[in-house]
Symmetry: C2
Subunit: 380 residues, 2 copies
């Protein structure tokens, strides 16, 4: 209802945070990146890769944020991975020069876009079917671009990837027949290995996956085919992948954030990472005796890998996520006040980042920067 005396101000959403604000004043829900922990995570992974002489190509699907990719590259990463082709666009725009699409793409629309992108930066992509090779060859010929191609092999995930060295050789014939496509090697990834909780179980599973990869490499070598690059692995298996002697390049992504799910893994002392990602939320209702209601639910947090935990408040349990509300049980402990800010550790970083448009970067209790999550929603 317009008041006659007051001309309405322009309809603009105020920012969730301004540089210099105390964290406690950030409007909620907002996704926070604790820069000290983040920077230590980036440096620690790079040092581990360097120590093993293995290339680090961090996965951008975890963060979708060009500033994070540039920070990783500044520390020594050889480039990044993207899982979807459209996801790569903001990284190219930000100046990333070497991008691996760690996935198959299908259809002429996507092949044409990849061929165009390959005029702007060095690109590689995975294949597991001859039709994909045909589409990539046609698109790169039309665009006048060149493309590195990896054959993905199935090492136990039973998702994408060919089954054996013979299938690799059949695809290689088709790749080699096209001058603008260059075989770069194998991609070998096993997602389920990443989330095995016990350190010994995870080591054994990672070793089995690496052994399957090694068998394909050996069979190819016997056929006279060398694999310049063998790429794969993730944040849960990386310590084993680095020392496997099989991978020349690793693709961890979540290590920069260390979400709740990865936090439940058991780690050896050697390569541990710190929680750097938090969702700031506020208590919005205190009318029930045993719980408070916070302003962050399914639209601010992915819950596919478990509910978030409340940082630094062991007596508080985030027990249910509704679309826009979270129910936090107090279990008889200190009751947060109406309006109080709580920090949640998200269960799964990748799909949580994909819900937000920016990271509020904080250090020593104050907002230091705002980083756009530029590839959010780019899932084609």
């Amino acid at each position: 209802m317009t008041a006659a005396s007051a001309p309405p101000l322009p309809l603009v959403l105020p920012p969730a945070a301004r540089i210099g604000d105390p964290v406690a004043e950030v409007d909620t829900p907002a996704l926070l990146l604790e820069l000290d922990a983040f920077e230590r995570n980036v440096a620690r992974m790079q040092a581990a890769a360097d120590a093993h002489g293995v290339a680090l190509r961090p996965h951008a699907k975890a963060h979708k944020c060009p500033q994070i990719a540039l920070a990783q590259i500044a520390q020594g990463a050889v480039g990044i991975c993207c899982q979807k082709l459209s996801e790569a666009l903001p990284f190219v725009q930000a100046g990333v020069q070497d991008i691996h699409i760690s996935n198959e793409i299908v259809g002429s629309t996507k092949a044409a876009l990849l061929a165009q992108l390959a005029l702007h930066a060095r690109f590689s992509v995975c294949v597991d079917h001859a039709d994909q090779v045909t589409a990539l060859a046609a698109a790169t010929a039309a665009a006048g671009s060149r493309l590195d191609v990896f054959v993905e092999i199935n090492i136990g995930q039973e998702r994408c990837g060919v089954s054996d060295a013979d299938a690799v050789l059949r695809l290689l014939e088709r790749i080699s027949a096209r001058g603008q496509l260059h075989f770069r090697g194998l991609q070998a990834y096993h997602g389920a290995v990443q989330h095995l909780r016990g350190h010994a179980d995870r080591r054994a599973a990672a070793q089995r996956a690496a052994a399957r990869t090694a068998a394909v490499i050996q069979a190819l070598a016997q056929a006279g085919v060398a694999c310049p690059v063998v790429t794969g692995g993730g944040s849960g298996s990386v310590e084993f992948d680095l020392s496997s002697g099989v991978y020349t390049e690793v693709q961890p992504g979540s290590y920069v954030f260390m979400d709740g799910d990865y936090g439940r893994n058991e780690y050896a002392a050697a390569l541990r990472f710190e929680h750097s990602l938090f969702l700031a939320t506020r208590v919005m209702s205190v009318e029930r005796a045993d719980r408070v209601v916070v302003d962050a639910g399914l639209k601010s947090l992915a819950v596919d890998s478990g509910l978030p935990t409340v940082w630094g408040e062991p007596s508080l349990e985030y027990a249910a996520a509704n679309d826009e509300h979270g129910l936090v049980l107090t279990h008889g402990g200190t009751r947060p006040a109406l309006g109080q800010q709580l920090l949640l550790v998200p269960g799964h970083c990748d799909p949580t980042l994909n819900l937000h448009d920016e990271l509020v970067c904080v250090r020593d209790g104050f907002v230091e920067d705002l980083w756009p999550i530029s590839a959010r929603g780019l899932s084609r």
Copy 2:
């Protein structure tokens, strides 16, 4: 790698669809709205509300799309609900003149924004605590705006809302002391009722919730307080809410889409809705014998209320959602080809819409329009 001969084209993502395209050519993943079914759903709900003399104020949290709100208002809806304050902004910009924030807000930042928004359109909001009233009074006084206020009551969800009529009366005293705040009545909502599968179970639960609401209304009447508006209900309970004699206004949202979760409810013949929301996905890998891999996972589909189903393909089972992949088991039935488009019925519409930036509107197999999901991600 830039080819010397070809100047790179500008870095722009091609659209997922163009008006006039056949649906089969839409790039994937993409969220489709089948306009015929959508329009029938909108008309059917409005007719039911009209038949009962109850106002329809559809919930925009389900769709976050101004074009949908305007279509509902054109059919007779009195306005819309938003669940978050920031969510309301694009609807005001699109010309929606009457918006109810069906939720409590906390903090001076949000109160100030609401007071500003109330200069542009008629706004109402819920309260369940005196501090919220104080903040709203201060902000509207500063902005020179007026605001309708609902007291939310708890009718069994055990989330927000005061417990009884005495608590309503205490808040009412504070509301009435402020000239720019106007008590409009009660909000009474019970989320769990919406998803009870059996028709009789759902009817009984809705009747219990309505009886609790009626008891508060009666106690207020005995204290001389009238409730001009009693608002609540959702797509699962609406048929009972409309005939309850308790609600003067209903807030269903999901009925426009009829997602997989609501589709599993048992309905009487009277008020049934049709699936109008589909996620178009494509088969991107066919290397395993018992399954195909599609290009839509957790970042394109919310799975909190169950996995999607494959529309029109009863032998295909979408059995697992990875971040960017879906595993579709073939169970010995016809095997979709590499590149084939499949349509999925999402399990839960609200958080699925919140992953996408546009609805590709289709009719008779062709793209008719593209509607931005303007409030996507606006969760503050």
